[in-house]
């Protein structure tokens, strides 16, 4: 095992540990963890036995294992980007709802105060 292989394995272990730690969700969590472990295992195998990767690549009609790795990582990167954008959109929507609720509540409170001092104001009735 070369030094670089060692460093790569170390990186994979760190990433896999972080990913497993950060993945949340109830039903899909176990599946995600298994997939992450399998991916880490496959990565370590590929690092230790680069020739095996080339055999897999040949099976898919690609010349070298390194090329297969490149294609797979491009797909992986794109999937990650899409997932991130979707997650951000969901978060934005939730922030919007939260900020709106805060703003409307503040307005109700402020108008409740003014209508206490001015009972003829019949508009600011909170629900």
């Amino acid at each position: 095992m070369t030094v670089f292989q060692f460093l790569l394995i170390l990186g994979i272990v760190v990433v896999a540990t972080l990913a497993i730690g950060f993945l949340r969700g109830e039903r899909s969590l176990a599946i995600k963890r298994i997939l992450a472990l399998l991916a880490a295992f496959a990565a370590i195998l590929a690092i230790l036995f680069p020739a095996a990767l080339t055999i897999v690549a040949n099976f898919f009609g690609i010349g070298r294992g390194a090329d297969l790795l490149l294609y797979v990582s491009i797909i992986g990167g794109l999937l990650f980007a899409v997932a991130t954008v979707r997650a951000k959109a969901r978060t934005d929507a939730r922030v919007t709802q939260l900020a709106r609720a805060v703003a409307l509540m503040e307005a109700r409170l402020l108008e409740g105060q003014t209508s206490q001092t001015n009972t003829s104001d019949g508009i600011g009735d909170p629900e």
Binding site: D92, A93, V95, T96, A99, R100, V102, A103, L104, E106, A107, R108, L110, E111, T114, N118, S120, D121, G122, I123, G124, D125, P126, E127
Partner: protein, 241 residues
């Protein structure tokens, strides 16, 4: 416009449930950094519409406080969320206060109060759920050639993708009745809400009409208003939905 001297004095009693005084109408103004013009916009509106609410979308120029002093109600977004989100907040505010009609009105003074009055009256008389303002039904409004081209393209695409047939999709002046209001849930925070409103209103199948209005391209709104680049955003937002 001419009654600007009839300055409002804040939160005293306001007539409710009166068609004569438009007490059942709420004017919703999304407000973002328009401190220099908002006070005159509000004082023009108040003689005709006693209920005005500004949705201060995280202004950093003190515009919210100026609007409050001018006699408007204020709802303050704690952070900037975008104009569509401000409108949705205003709709929910108005529904909470039992509004029968909501007018959406721009903060930069490009709409005319007379037009808004005429639109509410038409909604009442013709039993319409939505009245859209359109600057292209007569030749009072003079947008530049490029602006006109972009706006006409936008409305053509909008008509393709919705069931409505309109002449001006991105006019900030609209009258929306309470039943239509309850079916709007604007999700797009940024500018394409002009389209989103129409898509959602089109789905309701409620009766609508377009009213000719004049858009005042003042020096202020020209300097500040949507650039052509923003129009590109509108077009792209239309395609990618």
């Amino acid at each position: 416009m001419t009654e600007a001297s009839a300055a409002p004095t804040g939160h005293e009693a306001r007539p409710v449930d009166s068609q004569q005084t438009n007490g059942d109408v709420w004017v919703v103004i999304p407000l973002y950094n328009e401190a220099t013009v908002i006070a005159s916009v509000i004082s023009d509106l108040l003689p005709s519409f006693p209920n005005v609410v500004c949705i201060d979308d995280g202004s950093t120029d003190g515009g919210g406080e100026i609007a409050r002093l001018a006699g408007s109600r204020i709802v303050s977004h704690p952070i900037n969320l975008g104009q569509g989100a401000a409108l949705q907040t205003g709709f929910e505010y108005a529904i909470e206060r039992h509004a029968k009609y909501v007018i959406t009105f721009d903060a930069d003074g490009q709409h005319r109060v007379e037009d808004a009055r005429a639109m509410v009256q038409r909604a009442r008389e013709e039993d319409l759920a939505i009245v859209f303002g359109s600057r292209f039904l007569d030749d009072r409004t003079q947008p530049g050639f490029l602006k006109k081209l972009v706006l006409k393209t936008a409305v053509t695409v909008t008509n393709w993708t919705t069931k409505t047939r309109l002449t001006d999709a991105h006019n900030g002046l609209r009258v929306i009745r309470e039943d239509a209001l309850r079916r709007i849930h604007l999700k797009q925070d940024r500018m394409a809400h002009g389209t989103e409103i129409i898509v959602q209103l089109g789905r309701t199948g409620l009766p609508y009409a377009e009213e000719p209005v004049e858009v005042l391209y003042t020096e202020y709104s020209k300097a500040k208003g949507q650039s052509l680049l923003n129009s590109v955003n509108i077009l792209i937002d239309l395609i990618i939905r």
